[in-house]
């Protein structure tokens, strides 16, 4: 099997290298063929591996590919751990990536228009883009297939690198290169905590291998560390690792990079800022469940951060007018749901939502991109409207995606989100009540912003200018086929996957269970005990407040942005004005960006400036270095006065000296 796994990882890398270095020679068709072939091969093999795990009792693989280095008796290795959790992630990542690859053929077809005249960067930009997204797929696969923390960190940083390259892809745009630097640095803040977490694991476990660490973890559960007046080792490790997850999975307060990352081309928003890279944090925490289960403090921290993100970031989505930014804030909010699930020890539910969300969010982004193509790269939803007549496939698939997102009964998002809310309602740890309330209210918010966007874009009167409207038409098949391919799992995957993933404890295979839940934290137990099949689950949900809120939000959105808006087109603007200070607070994104820009970025620059001018130049150079040179000079200048060259000066000095000496001798 090792060769299969190696092929899955390396095929996208080969594609990336060929398209990246020889893009000019092989041309556009060559570049997208080779990368799609690579990712396609990975997808097929990943699906095959997943199939074997489902139907053929595939054995868990945990093996080393090569030894990176050995130091101080500690082995750092590059190796794979492939169990059911990994297989599920691999299939999701490669499938979404493949869809995005195909879609990109259409989206980037006229990319030369995005570059200024004569810029050499614009010449092979199409090929370069394919190279990057393939490289990204490789990085993400390295991350999910790692069997140790070192390689996890490699993948972790590699997706950061590729997202840096992709967000700043249109490098002549000031906003793009601002966003990519911001994304990289904010992620680095997370990685800073993550690396310290890895260092703590290395110190106390003496190894970075997952299996060995997990096996040793219960033995270290009661270890205390003399920090902050004594805290449990597990809390320290889990919180530090989670800071990394907050960066990658964009949780408050490290969420600020994700909305800005919409400066990148839309395919990457679908691939890395919805379906894969941002899920790295969720995957990591699920993978580390044997550690997180040993620290309730860390779980509470995770829970509270997740719930806060889920609700408050969703609210911002209500006031956004850029189609991609609405989806971006929805991503933040949904990631918050997943993180909350992890905090409630419902790792399986978190991962389940990760998977369903990967499909419907990729779908929504790609649908948004399809609209953007038709609109000639205008993204303001206030200038859209009535698009359903012009783009039927995009319209239907976007509707499916939106229904899945708000958790409409039967759609994939319904199963995963309801499972999360059910689990969070059961949790007994600190912050559980807070999370429970916010997640439930969040359902209403989700429905409102999703369908505000949906109705403003697809229904009502077309508000775009004459020229754009005349040219509106459905996008080519390379764009619509991925939409349809993603709409299928958005519809059905929840129905089919909930039973194995949440109810029947599918993740455990043999004596290896990637997801470990302590019996007292088993918040999914209630769901399991009362499970009577999918249809009963749907029926049961019909009476719950969660569903009331979702449907209520949907109806409310339809009333405001469809029915009323048909008569009063300025209703949206009026509502925003009605919000007053609340609207402004949301439009300012709670002031995070301003604060960071002024105090963190500005403060760091000021500090650097001060250190340099006061410390290095004034104190050390002028004070110590040139100062000592000057004092030597001054001293020499004083001494030089004695050497006048006049004989009588010397004679007087001799006489004075003589008299002085004699006086001393006589008095002694």
């Amino acid at each position: 099997m090792e060769n299969v796994y190696l092929t899955i990882v390396l095929a996208p890398l080969v594609g990336a290298i060929v398209a990246g270095f020889f893009g000019g020679r092989i041309g556009r068709v060559g570049a997208h063929s080779v990368t799609i072939a690579g990712v396609g091969l990975s997808t097929l093999l990943s699906l095959w591996v997943l199939g074997r795990f489902i139907w053929a009792e595939q054995a868990v693989f945990d093996g080393t590919v090569y030894t990176w280095l050995v130091s101080d008796g500690m082995r750092f290795e590059v190796g794979f751990l492939v169990d059911k959790l990994t297989a599920m992630m691999m299939a999701t990542v490669t499938f979404v990536s493949l869809m995005v690859h195909i879609y990109t053929i259409g989206y980037m077809a006229d990319d030369e228009h995005n570059w200024p005249e004569g810029a050499l960067t614009g010449r092979n930009s199409y090929q370069r883009f394919f190279s990057y997204i393939s490289l990204f797929t490789f990085s993400m696969l390295m991350l999910v297939m790692a069997n140790n923390f070192m390689q996890l960190f490699f993948g972790w940083e590699a997706v950061g690198l590729v997202s840096y390259l992709l967000i700043g892809f249109w490098s002549t745009r000031e906003s793009a290169i601002f966003a990519n630097l911001k994304a990289f640095l904010v992620n680095r803040v997370g990685d800073f905590g993550f690396l310290l977490g890895i260092a703590a694991v290395a110190m106390y476990f003496g190894t970075l291998d997952y299996a060995e660490v997990f096996a040793a973890a219960p033995g270290l559960a009661d270890t205390e560390v003399a920090l902050f007046g004594g805290i449990s080792l597990m809390t320290l490790i889990c919180v530090l690792l989670f800071i990394g997850a907050m960066g990658k999975s964009a949780q408050v307060p490290l969420h600020v990079w994700l909305p800005d990352s919409m400066e990148g081309p839309t395919p990457i928003s679908a691939l890395i800022h919805a379906a894969t890279m941002v899920t790295a944090g969720i995957f990591m925490v699920a993978r580390m469940s044997p550690l997180y289960e040993l620290s309730e403090a860390a779980l509470s921290f995770v829970l509270i951060i997740g719930a806060t993100t889920a609700f408050f970031m969703g609210l911002i989505g209500l006031v956004q007018n850029d189609i991609k930014r609405v989806v971006a804030y929805s991503t933040l909010s949904q990631l918050g749901y997943m993180i909350t699930a992890l905090g409630a020890s419902a790792y399986a539910a978190g991962v389940f939502h990760l998977m369903t969300h990967a499909f419907f969010k990729a779908l929504l982004f790609l649908a948004a991109g399809s609209v953007i193509i038709a609109m000639h790269h205008k993204q303001d939803i206030r200038e859209m409207g009535g698009m359903r007549k012009f783009m039927p496939i995009t319209w239907i698939t976007a509707l499916i995606g939106s229904l899945a997102l708000i958790g409409f009964p039967g759609f994939s998002g319904f199963f995963s989100k309801d499972a999360i809310i059910a689990a969070v309602n059961e949790t007994a740890i600190f912050g559980g009540g807070y999370a429970s309330v916010l997640l439930t209210l969040g359902v209403l918010v989700t429905a409102l912003y999703s369908f505000r966007m949906y109705f403003l874009v697809f229904h009502g009167k077309p508000r775009m200018d004459e020229h754009t409207r005349e040219h509106l038409h459905e996008t080519p098949w390379v764009v619509t086929v991925p939409l349809v391919m993603l709409a299928i799992p958005s519809l059905f995957i929840g129905w089919f996957a909930i039973e194995p993933m949440l109810i029947n404890d599918w993740f455990a295979s043999g004596d290896w269970s990637p997801i470990m839940v302590a019996p007292e934290h088993d918040t999914l137990a209630h769901l399991r005990e009362h499970w009577h099949g999918q249809s009963a689950f749907v029926m049961h949900a019909l009476g719950t407040p969660t569903l009331m809120l979702a449907l209520g939000g949907l109806v409310l959105a339809a009333l405001i942005w469809w029915v009323v808006a048909a008569r009063k087109p300025d209703i949206d603007a009026k509502l925003l004005a009605l919000g007053g200070p609340l609207t402004r607070l949301l439009q300012n994104k709670y002031g995070f960006d301003d604060f960071n820009q002024r105090f963190l970025a500005g403060g760091a620059q000021l500090l650097g400036q001060t250190f340099w001018s006061r410390g290095d130049r004034a104190l050390i150079d002028d004070g110590m270095v040139n100062g000592s040179a000057r004092s030597v000079g001054r001293m020499a200048g004083v001494l030089r006065l004695l050497q006048t060259g006049y004989l009588y000066h010397y004679a007087i000095a001799m006489i004075v000296g003589l008299v002085g000496l004699m006086t001393i001798f006589v008095t002694l």
Binding site: S71, D72, M74, P116, G118, S171, I177, L196, A199, M203
Partner: protein, 525 residues
């Protein structure tokens, strides 16, 4: 048994080559360039013999040579390498090739003398890394200043006189104290052999004074805060080749000095003063990181970044003493030193490459100011790719060599103290911030001005230079195991040595380090 004097060959081949180039004069610039390149390549190829002939299983000095030089004072021409010095010698021979190529058509003023200076420099630096006799070491150490002084003073920028004097006085100031320490030890040990110094039993006062004397010499070379201010000035004024040698190799001599002299000769003083070095290192990482953020000159920025990265080297070396005194730490001491070593090699590649990148721009636009650039990638896509790649390596991206050393040092530091590790790990944010902010302003964005619009992409010579270094950075990042294997035994031996108390019998109560086993007690010569 007759052994081929390989180290002698490596030292004198480039020096002889340098003299030959010098003698050929500037009548035919191309002859002198090709001769210089020939000697540089030949030296590198010969140095590979060191790598392949090296026995990683022993900490003994290998390829050793020993001939009486000044018998009256027991001075020997004694050479030898272990796993610590050998990789540094190969780094030297490797980097010199690129320095020669980098100066190819750029240096038009007295090219033969320029090439000769670098070749002689190479031989002398290899001498520093392989000398086992203190006097021989000192001679090479001081001789190193001369070619560098000339390189900056003759081919440097407008403010070169200030920079050279500052550079010379700074480093010379440090080394005289080292000379005093060496002479003192000669009287104690009746020998100038560095290995004899290692075995010498010394009281705490003597160790402390010796340690401080060495510290003055090595801290200036590394350079450590607060004696670092010569470096940015020297870099700014030096020609590209000079900057590359300075950053890639000469700074490493300071780090090497700590391993070869300070720590094994004065382990007890090192342990007692480790806090000072650790503090200076952490200041280098954090304070200098912020200072780098404020730079407007690309070379200054990279120079400050060098100081910050070298902070990891000294941190890795001296964290050993904190780890052995921390009972809960377990292992980790060896990892600190090895991390520091890897960081030195890696920084050699990355800083060398970054200075070459700045050189590429400077040759075209004649400015190092960040503000004079913007959107370079639009006219120089290949160059842009290389520059971003090396910037990422400088930010410690895993998969590049820049990650390996920092990762190991942070892991080791964590065992000593959480807060120190936290400060060290800020490099993840700071290094990315100052490096990538520079990249944003120089490489990305719209074309800033006519000069940028008129830029031409890398020529074949430049592409070759950067390409080979990029491959080296990637190789060391993806598979550092071979390098670690080579140095492992020597580093373990060193760590055992520096964690054993060397105080004489009447001071043994003051030992914080492990007391020597009775059998292993060093017999006074």
């Amino acid at each position: 048994m007759y052994q081929f004097p390989l180290l002698t060959l490596l030292i004198w081949l480039p020096i002889v080559g340098g003299i030959a180039v010098l003698a050929s004069g500037d009548r035919s610039a191309s002859t002198s360039k090709w001769t210089a390149l020939g000697f540089a390549v030949l030296t590198f190829v010969s140095s590979l013999w060191l790598w392949f002939g090296f026995d990683p299983g022993t900490a003994e000095m290998q390829f050793a040579e020993r001939v009486a030089w000044i018998p009256t004072f027991d001075v020997y021409y004694a050479l030898g390498v272990d796993g610590i010095s050998m990789p540094l010698i190969i780094l030297t021979t490797f980097i010199t090739i690129f320095v020669v190529i980098a100066g190819w058509e750029v240096i038009s003023y007295k090219p033969s003398q320029y090439m000769a200076a670098f070749l002689i420099m190479e031989g002398v630096m290899i001498g520093v890394f392989s000398a086992l006799d203190a006097v021989l070491f000192y001679v090479f150490w001081e001789a190193m200043l001369i070619p560098m002084f000339i390189i900056i003073g003759v081919w440097g920028g407008p403010n070169r006189v200030y920079a050279t004097i500052k550079f010379f006085i700074y480093t010379f100031f440090g080394s005289v104290f080292m000379l005093v320490a060496l002479i003192y030890m000669y009287f104690q040990a009746d020998s100038f052999s560095i290995l004899d110094f290692h075995g010498l039993e010394l009281g705490m006062t003597a160790q402390t004074l010796i340690f401080i004397a060495f510290l003055l010499a090595f801290a200036v070379k590394v350079p450590m805060f607060p004696v670092h201010t010569w470096l940015p000035d020297a870099h700014v004024e030096a020609p590209t080749g000079g900057s590359v040698v300075l950053a890639a190799i000469m700074l490493k001599i300071g780090g090497y000095g700590f391993l070869r002299f300070s720590m094994p000769i004065a382990p007890d003083a090192s342990a007692a003063l480790a806090w000072l070095i650790i503090a200076m290192s952490l200041i280098a990482v954090v304070y200098i990181g912020f200072v780098a953020l404020a730079q407007r000159d690309m070379k200054k920025l990279i120079a400050y970044s060098s100081i910050a990265h070298m902070g990891f080297v000294t941190l890795g070396f001296f964290i050993v003493f904190a780890i052995v005194q921390n009972s809960t730490a377990g292992a980790g001491a060896v990892m600190g030193v090895e991390g520091g070593m890897v960081q030195m090699i890696s920084h050699g590649f990355i800083s060398g490459a970054l200075f070459l990148c700045v050189g590429v721009l400077y040759d075209r636009v004649h400015s190092r100011e960040i503000a004079d650039y913007g959107g370079v990638v639009n006219t120089m896509p290949w160059f842009g790719a290389f520059f971003v790649y090396f910037a990422m390596a400088n930010s410690g991206l895993p998969g590049t060599s820049g990650f390996v050393g920092e990762f190991m040092v942070i892991l080791a530091t964590f065992r000593a103290n959480f807060w120190w590790a936290l400060l060290a790990a800020t490099t993840l944010i700071l290094a990315a911030a100052y490096t990538l902010w520079m990249i944003k302003r120089v490489v990305f964005g719209p074309v800033a001005n006519d000069k940028v619009a008129a830029l031409t992409d890398l020529n074949r010579r430049e592409a070759l230079n950067l390409g080979v270094l990029a491959a080296a950075v990637l190789a060391l990042g993806l598979w550092p195991a071979p390098l670690l294997e080579v140095m492992h035994t020597s580093v373990e031996h060193l760590v055992a040595q520096v964690t054993t108390c060397k105080l004489p019998a009447d001071e043994i109560g003051a030992c914080v380090l492990a007391r020597p086993e009775p059998l292993a007690t060093v017999v006074q010569p």
